[in-house]
Symmetry: C2
Subunit: 219 residues, 2 copies
C-alpha cells in the first residue's frame, strides 16, 4: 500500500486534528459510501454532480454517464475533485456556536482519465456494481459490447487525497456546561428498508440474502 503524501493543496489549514492522509482511513470511507460528488470546471464555472463510484486498489472509478457534460469535459484530462461524505451524527451543543456534525469525508484531487481499454472497463463496470451489492455482478446479465460502449467510466488515481473526521460529543465553552440545555449527539445512519420487488418480477424468484438483509460495510 503506497502512502498518501500530503501536498500544499491537501494540507489542513483549519482543525488539523480532524484531518489525516492515512490510506486505510481513505479506503474505509470510500468503500462504505454509495455516492460521491464530482467537481469539475466548464467555461470557468464549477459543476458538482453526484454519481456512483468504486474503489479498486489505489484507483477510484466513477460512473461517467451522470451528465453528458461531465464526461465530455472530463475526457479532456482536466483537474477534478471527488468528494465522499458520510454523515454520522448531529452534534447539539449548549451554545448555537458549537453546534456541529459528526462526519467522515474524503477529498481526492487529480485528473480523470476515461477508461478505454475493454478489460479495464469490464473490471471497473463490475466494481461499480460490487460497490453497491457485493456478489451482484455475477448474478445478473453482464454488459454486452453495445452497453459497454454506451457507458463511460472515468478513473481517478487515489494519490492526492485527504480525510477529515469528527466524532464524539459537543465541545462547549467551559462556562456553558452549567447551562440547563440538553446537549449530545443524534447518531445518523443511511439505512436500508425492506426491499421492494419489481412489479414485473415473476413469483418464486428467490431474493439473494445480500439484498434481503442489506447493510453497508462499516455501517
Amino acid at each position: 500500500m503506497n502512502p498518501i503524501v500530503p501536498t500544499p493543496r491537501t494540507t489542513f489549514r483549519r482543525r488539523p486534528e480532524r484531518g489525516s492522509h492515512d490510506r486505510t482511513a481513505v479506503n474505509a470511507i470510500l468503500d462504505q459510501a454509495l455516492i460521491c460528488h464530482v467537481g469539475f470546471n466548464m467555461d470557468g464555472q464549477p459543476f458538482v454532480l453526484p454519481t456512483t463510484h468504486a474503489r479498486v486498489g489505489e484507483r477510484l472509478y466513477i460512473h461517467g454517464a451522470v451528465g453528458g457534460r461531465m464526461l465530455k469535459t472530463m475526457r479532456q484530462g482536466i483537474p477534478v475533485c471527488v468528494t465522499v461524505t458520510l454523515l454520522d451524527g448531529l452534534v447539539l451543543a449548549r451554545s448555537a456556536f458549537h453546534h456541529s456534525m459528526n462526519y467522515r469525508s474524503v477529498v481526492i484531487l487529480g485528473t480523470a482519465r476515461e477508461v478505454i481499454e475493454e478489460e479495464e472497463k469490464r473490471l471497473a463496470f463490475s466494481a461499480l456494481i460490487e460497490q453497491v451489492v457485493p456478489g451482484r455482478s455475477a448474478q445478473v446479465r453482464g454488459a454486452n459490447d453495445l452497453e459497454l460502449k454506451a457507458t463511460a467510466v472515468l478513473c481517478v488515481p487515489i494519490e492526492e487525497a485527504s480525510v477529515k473526521i469528527r466524532t464524539g460529543p459537543p465541545i462547549d465553552d467551559e462556562t456553558d456546561y452549567a447551562l440547563p440545555h440538553w446537549a449530545g449527539v443524534i447518531p445518523m445512519e443511511l439505512t436500508a428498508r425492506a426491499p421492494i420487488a419489481d412489479p414485473r418480477l415473476p413469483a418464486g424468484v428467490p431474493i439473494p440474502s445480500a439484498i434481503a438483509r442489506y447493510r453497508r460495510p462499516g455501517g
Copy 2:
C-alpha cells in the same frame, strides 16, 4: 415565489424526463437535506467540500467555516456550485447495465456573497441551526459578538438551479424480463438513532421531543 428560469447551463442534456426547474421541488430537497457539497475553483483546481446549509426563502445560506480556503476564495465573489443529493434507493436490475440509484438532487449555480450585515448574519446563523433541529436556536445560548465574527456565512441566491429525480423500479430491456434474476429496489433512508446525551450533561436535564423523536421533514 419567483419561477426558476432554465439557462443553457441548467438545461438537461441527458434524461430530461428526470429533470425540472420547479422551485417547490428545489425547496423540498434543500429543506430535507442536512448537508450540501460546495464546489469552487482555486488556481484552476476544483474543490468540493461538504458543509451545512439552510434555505431562507429564495436564498441558500451555507456555513463558511468548513475550510479556511473555501471562505477566503469564495469571499472574492467567484462562481460556485452547490449540490444537494438525497439517496432514496438502490435500483437492482436484471442486467448490469440498468442498475441505477433512486435519488433527488439539486444543483445551484451562482456567486457566493459573504454575509456581513449583522442582522442578516444572525438570521442565517439561526436558520443553519433550525435546518437541523427546528426550534433549537431558541433553546440554546445564542451567538455572542465574538462568535458571530468568528463564523463565516455565505449566501447563494437560488436563481439558476435544477432538480433531478429518479424514482421507481428498474427499467430492464424487454428481453431481460424473462431472466431468473431478482430485481427491485432497496429503499435507503438517512435515519436517526437514539440520541446520546453528552457525558457531561447533568442528570435531570429534559430532552426536547424534537430531539428524542428526531425525523427529517419528508423523510
